[in-house]
């Protein structure tokens, strides 16, 4: 019945009412004479679908049907009630209900507001879903249908290939090489042109060595987060304080955060500074970069019993006594040490910037 538009069908075939095909076989009169279920099956068959088997729903008026109907209606009804409750909670708060705005000490209505929104909206949506599931499972006929799956047709392949190749032949591109080549050239160049504006994103990372420098410089004071300077004796032995360079925005600079550690006497005795950095500390004070040499997290956890500093991100551990050398975990380099001394007023200052790049390793780190 679908042979109308295929080769070999009768060329004198008049198109049907809309698109030929089944309209030739089924006149409007014939269709009008058919029952709805027959039309349904006919259409399905026309789409390659055969309904094999139908488990009927519970018979109309039976107890089973009434029960299922009640269940579905109950689910939808509850969904409606939950949705209404949502609207009441949402709009009613701060109107006839208490204020919804949460104050951290409040454990009343405002602490319940968001959970209630979730409960009511979740309930409404889930009950709609539950009602639909019950409806499909209990009240719809269970139909088992089979649809044919068509493999590709050799006819389609051959004719499409002929159309394509014929068209290509007519353009003459395979023969007229010059057009093809110039078009290829233009295409490549146009492609380049179209992505060229992305060049605006490219910046030179090696100009001025931004990765190798921080805000520290000779004479810059070590200050706390609140800007107060530090003298020797402010800290207990064995303690750690995070310090920043006393410059504008120093306490928010990405790479400048430094740990000022006062060593205990026994730590002091065991101290093995890195080669050439023996004089970087001042008295029993040493200052190491707080930026992990692995992935740049602030290494924060100082266990003074073992003299270890732990990075909470990937658990690299650095030994303060050995010049903040990595002793466990994925970090490969020691935390850089900041050379420190005292200024005229007796406050800690940096003697220079870090002598190496702080933070994570990169390709040309050793070269700058």
């Amino acid at each position: 019945m679908s042979t109308h538009d295929r080769p070999g069908s009768d060329p004198s075939d008049e198109p049907g009412m809309q698109y030929g095909g089944p309209d030739d076989d089924f006149s409007p009169e014939r269709l009008a004479g058919m029952q709805r279920e027959d039309l349904n099956r006919l259409g399905a068959r026309y789409d390659g679908v055969e309904v094999l088997h139908v488990d009927p729903p519970p018979p109309p008026g039976s107890g089973l049907e009434k029960q299922a109907e009640r269940q579905v209606a109950m689910a939808f009804g509850l969904a409606g009630l939950f949705a209404l409750a949502f609207a009441v909670v949402y709009f009613g708060s701060n109107w006839f209900l208490p204020d919804w705005q949460w104050a951290s000490e409040d454990n009343g209505w405002s602490a319940l507001y968001t959970p209630l929104l979730g409960l009511t909206m979740g309930g409404a949506l889930i009950f709609i879903g539950v009602g639909l599931v019950l409806f499909v499972k209990k009240l719809l006929p269970h139909e088992t249908a089979v649809q044919d799956k068509h493999d590709g047709s050799q006819f389609d392949r051959a004719t499409t290939a002929a159309t394509l190749m014929g068209g290509l032949d007519k353009t003459g591109f395979p023969r007229r090489k010059m057009i093809g080549r110039s078009l290829g050239f233009a295409g490549g160049a146009l492609g380049l042109m179209l992505i060229a504006p992305l060049g605006g994103l490219i910046k030179n990372p090696n100009k001025g060595n931004p990765l190798g420098t921080t805000e520290w410089a000779e004479g810059v004071r070590l200050v706390r987060d609140d800007g107060t300077p530090i003298r020797p004796g402010d800290q207990e032995p064995g303690s750690l304080e995070t310090v920043f360079p006393a410059v504008e925005g120093g306490n928010r600079a990405a790479d400048a955060a430094t740990m000022l550690i006062r060593l205990r006497p026994e730590q002091m005795a065991a101290l093995e500074p890195r080669e050439g950095q023996a004089d970087f500390g001042y008295g029993d004070y040493v200052a190491y970069s707080k930026i992990c040499t692995h992935a740049g997290c602030p290494v924060s956890l100082y266990e003074q019993e073992t003299s270890r500093i732990l990075c909470p991100c990937h658990q690299s551990q650095f030994d303060v006594i050995q010049g903040a050398k990595p002793v466990f975990g994925p970090a490969t380099r020691s935390l850089p040490e900041l050379p420190i001394t005292l200024d005229d007023e007796g406050y800690f200052v940096a003697r220079s910037d870090y002598i190496e790049a702080v933070g994570p390793t990169y390709w040309n780190r050793e070269r700058i």
Binding site: E143, A145, V146, A254
Partner: protein, 558 residues
């Protein structure tokens, strides 16, 4: 039937309107084909739908959030209603996230829905991918759709990363710092890539705005386009199905789209949405006001990314401290391997798996019938191995928490991960392989000897035997004649109608027990029905398939 109209012309208002529309658009044919499309029925085919629905929820809730979020890194003092942070300097991104959480009516609720839906989105993609993998649904002709699926997974991860970086709280800032370090670790172009992405050194003032546009426009647009292609290919190639009676490589057995499948799919959408809404309201997630604004000098202990990035965090923790120093003072940082290389290799192998399997097995045929994992032990075990590897990495992403809660040395946990990463996957391979073979053998044993009934009989000779229920015709030795066809083999008497069905009704029966009994007799269901029959030894109806099912296609049962 109407009488006053020409034959075939509709008499109702809706019918007339439909005719009017069809005269203009000619949609009746395509619409009927769509409504008649048959979808196979199996719970595991709904996993991809969950991903689709959570994406819709993400689009809806995310659009709402954009009305209030301001992706600016300019510093402002907080003046909003959350007292503990009042007066604190913070970026506008963090300030606006706090304000949409505390000063927008229902804003916190929507933000939490968005976060939960994002977790569900990635989770359902992963579980969907596992279903496709273990049942062989990726085989020809569906390799393209598999590839699109893997790309969608990667994009979903990027969506997650850009999304949770945007609030600019302490936790997301820590994540951003690690992203920066990962970019820097790429050999040769690392610093250039970092400067291109961050518009300079870390942290700069561009990154949140850039992540924002990537998160709300670029990635969603690509994902939406790929989902469209994913679904169009699915419709074009038709759904796969599990083997079963009447199911072949050339048909699809199931429900038509309308009304049964449409009803179920809509129901699932509402349930998924409802679940996200309930979680979003009832279960707090990412309480950014507790973390405080980002500060490069601070970090909270136990910082964990969202679950789907955990495996990369784990691989990074397990990586030994191996920088590679090249001549000319160039360095390949240790961080490069567990992040860029591990992730790149995992997703490349995943995307190419269909081609790899084709090459290795030489199977180039088209397949529309799925395989049970036990029938392809090598693939199943390879999958189990990959999964075990992933799980070791994922667990190691939280090894500090495990060490803390169970009072284990942190360094010991790292070594557990390092060693486990190498030896657990092969063990998983061997165990899965044995399980697959065992299940295969059991299937064949039941086909040959029948189902164990649990009934012990004593023979006149005094010997005790267990009565087995054959599944089909038997030869003169009592051995079953059915061959394994890739479909589930019933292994319990109930699955072949050994028990009659229960009388319906929750508090009180709503059916007549006698009627159910009668039905069972007619359907030859239940042991009583079978034993009243003379086919008691074989227990099967005289012809055709399983009792009570009349040989028609059935859903797989286990």
């Amino acid at each position: 039937m109407a009488t006053a109209v020409a034959p075939g012309q509709p008499a109702t208002k809706i019918g007339k309107a439909a005719t009017e529309i069809d005269e203009r658009l000619i949609v009746a044919g395509p619409l009927r084909r769509t409504l008649n499309k048959v979808f196979p029925d199996h719970w595991s085919f709904l996993l991809g739908e969950i991903a689709l629905y959570s994406f819709i929820i993400l689009l809806l809730s995310g659009t709402y959030l954009t009305f209030f979020f301001d992706a600016s890194m300019a510093e402002v003092p907080y003046q909003g209603s959350y007292a503990p942070l009042r007066g604190v300097e913070m970026s506008q991104a963090y300030e606006s996230t706090l304000s949409l959480s505390f000063d927008v009516r229902g804003g916190l609720f929507i933000r939490q829905i968005h976060h939960w839906a994002a977790l569900l989105f990635v989770a359902s993609i992963v579980v969907h991918l596992l279903r496709i993998f273990f049942t062989g649904a990726f085989r020809k002709p569906r390799e393209t759709n598999w590839g699109i699926g893997v790309v969608l997974l990667v994009l979903a991860l990027l969506m997650g990363v850009t999304g949770y970086s945007m609030p600019d709280d302490l936790l997301s800032g820590t994540g951003l710092r690690i992203i920066s370090a990962i970019l820097l670790s790429i050999p040769v172009i690392g610093t250039w890539a970092h400067w291109a992405v961050f518009d300079g050194d870390y942290v700069g003032d561009a990154i949140i705005g850039r992540f924002y546009i990537v998160h709300v426009l670029i990635l969603p647009a690509i994902i939406l386009a790929l989902i469209a292609v994913h679904l169009l290919l699915l419709i074009k190639q038709k759904h796969t199905q599990f083997p079963g009676p009447g199911r072949t490589e050339h048909n699809v057995v199931g429900n038509r789209l309308f009304p049964a499948f449409a009803g179920k799919a809509t129901a699932l959408f509402f349930i998924v949405f409802g679940l996200c809404a309930a979680l979003g309201g009832l279960v707090q997630i990412n309480p950014i006001w507790l973390w405080g604004p980002y500060n490069p000098a601070q970090v909270s202990a136990g910082s964990q990314p969202d679950w789907y990035i955990g495996f990369l965090d784990g691989s990074t923790r397990l990586m030994p401290a191996w920088d590679i120093n090249l001549p000319g003072d160039y360095t390949i940082p240790a961080l490069f391997w567990p992040t860029v290389v591990v992730a790149g290799a995992m997703f490349t192998v995943l995307a190419l798996y269909p081609q790899l399997e084709r090459k290795l097995t030489g199977d180039t045929a088209s397949h529309h019938l799925l395989q049970r994992p036990r029938d392809v032990p090598v693939r199943t075990s390879v999958g189990a191995m990959a999964l075990a590897f992933y799980c070791v990495l994922w667990m190691s992403g939280g090894n500090d928490l495990i060490a803390d809660k169970f009072d284990i040395s942190l360094n010991a946990m790292t070594w557990v991960g390092r060693i486990g990463m190498v030896i657990i996957p092969p063990i998983a391979y061997m165990i899965s392989y044995r399980i697959c073979l065992g299940l295969q053998k059991h299937d064949r044993e039941v086909l040959e000897h029948g189902i164990e009934t649990g009934v012990i009989r004593r023979l006149p000779s005094g010997e005790f035997i267990e009565v087995h229920q054959p599944l089909g015709p038997v030869d003169e030795h009592g051995h079953g004649q059915l061959t394994y066809a890739g479909a589930p083999v019933p292994k319990k008497m109930n699955q072949v109608g050994g028990a009659r069905r229960a009388v319906k009704g929750f508090f009180k029966p709503i059916e007549q027990p006698a009627q159910v009994e009668l039905e069972a007799q007619q359907e030859r269901r239940g042991l009583a029905a079978a034993e009243s029959d003379e086919h008691v030894t074989s227990g099967r109806p005289s012809e055709g398939g399983r009792p009570s099912e009349g040989g028609r296609p059935q859903d797989p049962r286990d």
